[in-house]
């Protein structure tokens, strides 16, 4: 599925009102572990279409990161029916990413 970049403006529409579960990747350009996690999230997005993958660049969308109480990146956050269901901090493997969204 196509990956959508999310900030404060489209967060409501793309994440909270999404009809399918959402996997959110919060990252920043200078964060090394984020650069390693990013391609795995991309792969997961490409190979699955039962959930939606969105990315939040914490550098550009700092207000949204703050609203979500993110203080460590990389952070992966899952949403279902407009509510946060799971959160994981730091680098995890592809299998663990899948487990996170499927749980």
């Amino acid at each position: 599925m196509k990956i959508v970049n999310v900030d404060n403006k489209n967060f409501e529409q793309e994440v909270l009102q999404s009809t399918v579960p959402v996997l959110m990747d919060v990252w920043a350009p200078w964060c090394g572990p984020c650069r390693m996690l990013g391609p795995l999230v991309d792969q997961v997005a490409e190979e699955n279409d039962n959930f939606k993958v969105v990315k939040v660049n914490a550098d550009e969308a700092g207000d949204l990161a703050q609203k979500l109480n993110v203080v460590s990146i990389p952070a992966l956050i899952c949403f279902k029916s407009g509510a946060e269901t799971k959160r994981s901090i730091g680098l995890i493997s592809k299998a663990e990413i899948l487990k996170l969204v499927e749980a």
């Binding site: 200078w30 914490a58 203080v71 995890i92």
Partner: protein, 291 residues
Amino acid sequence: MEKRYDIAIIGSGPAGLSTAINAKVRKKEIILFGSEDISSKIAKAHGINNYLGMYGKSGEEMASAFRHHIDEMEIRITPEKVTNIMPVDDYYAILTKNGMYYEAASVILASGISFGKAIPGEKEFLGKGVSYCATCDAMFYRGKVATVIGYNKSEEEEADFLTQVAEKVYYIPMYTDEVNVNEKVEVIQDKVLEIRGDQKVTELVLRNHVLTTDGVFILRESVAADSLIPGLEIEDNHVKVDRLMKTNLNGCFAAGDIVGKPYQYSKAAGEGNIAALSAVSYLDARRRAVV
């Protein structure tokens, strides 16, 4: 495309060096991460009497004998600290502290014992104010109070870096060397007891102080093996391996103190030898499967 090494070796103690020489003999392309001075655990030893051929030698003499050996075999140490290793399809991606990126078909963990005890509250507040990466997370502390617990002098620059964004930075050195940080950092010499908070970190409890803080950066010299590679199986505080030094991850092997007691040079070197040969068979079997 990145250069793809056959074997990446993490650690330059007896386990890592023994791995390196054995992999080199088998003509594998290796990259060896570690410290220029080989290993502080070798340099610090006084007299070593239980390593074959080194009777009565000091740690320094042993280190220079090891150095001579790898120099003669043209094995170079890449003096970078590995912070993350990620299994990707059929290879491993490796990231170092200064942001360099490497790729290798297999990995051998030989980084010594690395399981510093967690601070009470550390796990609970991970991602809720506890962080291991100042570069990644400094931006979230704009106008806030950040506390750095530094286990090594090299972490002082991380505290300096945080003063660019944070309103207030405390620095707690966990070593005895003199501390040199900029004047905006408040250095506190005390024993760390506990990280407290509710939804997020609110305070750090020390023996003689309670610091009100929004975040605690815990910067240790060594990264615990299971946070170094996601999914790595740990047993009794050590990386779980079989007799061939295989971990639960395909293509990832481990040797030396990191896999368990006894903590000895000979054992570390012997396991490095096994790990290297196991990695070589793994690579050769894979090559045959592809052809």
